[in-house]
Symmetry: C2
């Protein structure tokens, strides 16, 4: 049995980046760049007005004849004398001869002429060609996460596709003779299957929208066969249940038969102790405890980190914060605890019912409170580490 | 012109909840419950073993004959005498006669019998029927946001569908003769259209995956027509560009023609001053500034709040935090500033290039730093409010 920090380090060290693929910028949100992007154009691509107003040649003259117009999208490179001006709009092409734009609020219009009431400094309200970025300059570095702003930035430079790390394909294997599909009648001794839909929902938080779900009966042969098939199709395989030491838990043996190397099995934590992590080549296998709350805890703490690493992200863990705990808490387990908590701006409280079989509390919690295995008592108002989720 | 807080209040007050619809639990992540859910079953639905071990009748006897087996999923309600035990597995049905489960690590097996080496307290390792939740009890309250844990909780109770507030349908209207679609050649005086793809990417953060995008030339007639059509199809309409006071900005007039009531126009902030917010019945219209960084700022601060309100959420604003600013900053504008910043665990720094036309900085920022309009100077290391995004 290993400690939480060791387990986290093993997950990070064994999760490799996914292969690189090309993707349309419009679909690239949340992906990580696998190449540094250089600008194919100057931006702005031409000298642009930053205001609605009048473009002119800066001089002592303040009465100017309006001799032309430049709307956004136009290209009419009018010639211009010192006593002339061009009506111009925000974003429009500034004729090469002009050096300054006076905003419309600072002129008086009379017939075809203007008087500048407040002469602006020379070159004001002019956005120079390449001012935002020059052709050939770095737009975004390799390994940048593509945000909505980055999508806009790339699109604005006319970039259609970028190279990113692919999303891992995820397969979910659900084991257990006791499980009945939601929507069916519940025979005595059975329960509804809920871990697969829960994990599928949790996967959406990293943009993995379509995991494939397999249900398998508690038999070594059937379990080994579905694992064999999943290892050829998926990059990350989540197995729900069947990993404890009970006679009817075939998963570990089925993994061995398929050549999946064990990287760890069991972590000194509560809930989520019986977690198995293994790999075969670059395929990762997590066998999660069957108890729903344990399963989701292991997902947030370990599986999410592995998926983010495979996506190319560098910040792979849920961010930590600290809060004052509202009441004293004793840890008599010798294990690292991931308690379901509810935090506000000020403090955090441990929610009732921390049972690993129950999702009641998880449904209304907004964070884990982590209590290290070697901490036995925490006083009220002591600072604790919390990990917000959802 | 109004202040930021007034604008936020007007957005909240005028954004109504969407109509209620039924949705499958498996697809309900991120939706808000429009009904209180009561449990249709006891959970667990029967007395369940919490361990792999042996079920028996607690007494002085410690040598017991193993007379049956109960695997998870089985229902065989064996009769039992005080000197008998049933082999049982985690999650399996406990025969009605038994009152206690001893874990397998605490017995010695010999042929068809066991000796209990460590007698457990009576009723231990038994999960009682309805222990997690009783039939008819409240599962989740109305207005709860459906998390991955909630999906699992509902599914585990056999609940197939729930009533939620629908997602608003969003239409994006892009105005501007200067705009060219990404992928085409860029004629002089034109720029690439990037706001629509940027806003579409930003919408994904609230699970709105398929906004419909319309492009319209700078003409009053065309603009009015597309707004008329959008008002019949969408719940929230985003208009990009065309809202300033330039002669070629037809949007405001087109909104008036369509009976869209102005709720505010222009906010005392930078960037994003020329924001228009209006409504017609329950349809909301935001006309966003054309400058990409202004547009995205207004999206995060105002549009996102309106969408979350329509989705039924109560926490509609991006969460605020505070950090020490790494260098002094002066606000000579008299406006509330939304500066692009980068925060760490310790502090936050204002990034270079805050121009509203530029997305460079936005692409690498991870937060806004808000400086109130009435604050003129902030010293280095002073605490400031930040609003993380992405």
């Amino acid at each position: 049995m290993i400690q939480v920090d060791q387990a986290l380090a093993i997950v990070a060290a064994n999760s490799s980046k996914m292969p690189v693929k090309k993707i349309k910028v419009a679909k690239a949100l949340g992906y990580v760049l696998a190449e540094t992007i250089y600008s194919p154009i100057d931006m702005p691509p031409f000298r642009q007005s930053a205001m609605d107003g009048y473009a002119f040649i800066h001089s002592d003259l303040t009465s100017l004849a309006v001799v032309g117009i430049s709307q956004a999208g136009d290209y009419s490179n009018s010639t211009l004398e010192k006593n002339e001006a061009i009506r111009i709009y925000t974003g429009a092409y500034i004729p090469d001869a002009a050096d300054t734009v006076v905003m419309q609020e600072h002129v008086t219009v009379k017939g075809g002429s203007i008087t500048i009431d407040k002469v602006p400094p020379v070159t004001i309200n002019v956005r120079n060609k390449g001012e935002q970025i020059e052709k050939g300059a770095v737009v975004l570095e390799k390994n940048t996460v593509i945000s909505a702003a980055a999508v806009g930035f790339l699109a604005g430079l006319g970039i259609v596709t970028v190279k990113v790390y692919s999303k891992p394909k995820v397969g979910i294997i659900v084991t257990g003779n006791e499980l009945v599909a939601v929507g069916k009648k519940l025979p005595k001794g059975k329960i509804y299957e809920s871990n697969a839909v829960m994990l599928a929902a949790a996967l959406k938080s990293v943009g993995i929208n379509k995991p494939v779900i397999f249900k398998v009966k508690d038999s070594l042969k059937a379990t080994a066969k579905v694992i064999e098939s999943c290892l050829t199709q998926f990059d990350v395989i989540l197995i729900s249940g069947g990993i404890s030491v009970g006679d009817y838990d075939f998963v570990k043996e089925a993994l061995v038969q398929n050549g999946v190397e064990e990287l760890f099995y069991k972590i000194n934590q509560k809930p989520g102790k019986p977690l198995f992590f293994g790999k075969k080549e670059d395929k990762l296998v997590f066998a999660l405890p069957g108890n729903p709350a344990s399963s989701l805890t292991c997902f947030y703490v370990y599986v999410l980190a592995a998926l983010k690493k495979r996506l190319g992200l560098t910040n792979i863990h849920l961010p930590k914060m600290s809060r004052k705990i509202s009441a004293a808490y004793n840890n008599t387990t010798g294990k690292t605890l991931f308690l379901k908590g509810f935090y506000s701006d000020h403090d955090v409280r441990v929610l009732e019912s921390q049972s690993s079989a129950m999702l009641n509390t998880f449904s209304t919690a907004n964070c884990f409170i982590t209590i290290p295995n070697d901490v036995t008592a925490i006083a009220a108002n002591e600072e604790v580490t919390i990990i917000p989720f959802n």
